[in-house]
Symmetry: C2
Subunit: 181 residues, 2 copies
């Protein structure tokens, strides 16, 4: 049984640099009207970059909505129409200085399906080579290199809270155990 919600009306209430917000009037499967608040976001890409010593490259950065610095995989926002795979390589090099000789798709994640249309694309990068970090003058982050086993422990003990980072590390770990990657 399908439970489609038909759009009756749509109103954009905000259009910013990062996101747009619209409020739609919908018709529910029972015919009742309801409203849906929808955050429109171009989507993002995160990269699990593993070096030859099986260490993972992290970035520690201040996340304003939580008013704290958190540990995340290198990641960035897609430009509309941009290829996610290329975006991941670009963000990895800009934030950490590394390029990848081996690169593959890992997962597609919906972070907040209740109210946002954002899709996160996760990739695995290996055979890393250092070139040069290219941070924007207004971008502040610290690169940290953490052994894979230690990074997994940080997922399990609650230190890592970022959804994309948890999914990438835990999924990669399980695929490795199964010999599927």
């Amino acid at each position: 049984m399908s439970h489609i919600e038909k759009t009756v009306a749509s109103k954009e209430v905000f259009s910013g640099h990062i996101l747009k917000l619209r409020v739609d009037t919908v018709e529910l499967p029972n015919g009742n009207p309801s409203t849906r608040e929808v955050v429109e976001h171009p989507g993002g890409v995160a990269v699990l970059a593993l070096d030859n010593d099986q260490a993972v490259l992290f970035v520690r950065q201040y996340r304003y909505p939580y008013r704290q610095e958190i540990l995340e995989l290198p990641a960035g926002k897609l430009n509309y129409g941009e290829d996610p795979a290329a975006c991941g390589l670009r963000e990895l090099e800009e934030e950490t200085g590394y390029t990848a000789g081996s690169y593959q798709f890992l997962a597609r994640v919906y972070p907040s399906p209740g109210y946002a249309d954002e899709v996160l694309h996760l990739y695995l990068a290996r055979a890393l080579q250092y070139r040069a970090q290219k941070l924007d003058p207004d971008e502040f982050l610290t690169v940290e290199r953490i052994p894979l086993e230690r990074a997994l422990s940080l997922c399990l003990d609650g230190t890592i809270t970022d959804a994309k980072t948890l999914v990438a590390l835990l999924k990669y770990n399980e695929l490795c155990r199964r010999g599927e990657i």
Copy 2:
């Protein structure tokens, strides 16, 4: 080194049923001004409910931002000030009809740290007992019971895309392997 962004000004641009949106002017660590678009959300709770046959209770529901039905763990939005543990038990019973004799904390997740302050609280529920589903008249979802091993396969093959569901299942699986839960 800490990279705190100081709030210089804050303007609420939207206040709805599910979320609020504000645009803040901040001072970056280098003294430059910038803006931050912040979605305020009360947070949510999701429950990995495992029955005595090691099957997981899922809900399949239409997610308007993606215009598709997706498979997720039972979950709900926190009321401001509500205890997350109690919210999880309530949502589990409302959506699936089950109460839990055993209940424990599993993870705390930031779904979109770039622009949202939402925190997701994940719990593990066992020793389930069926009472009665209590769906809101305007809530449409189908409960599906999926064996744990099959559910894990759905995380690995890309069928499951929901972040909270991926984190809960993959983390629970790894904790089991390590004998830590």
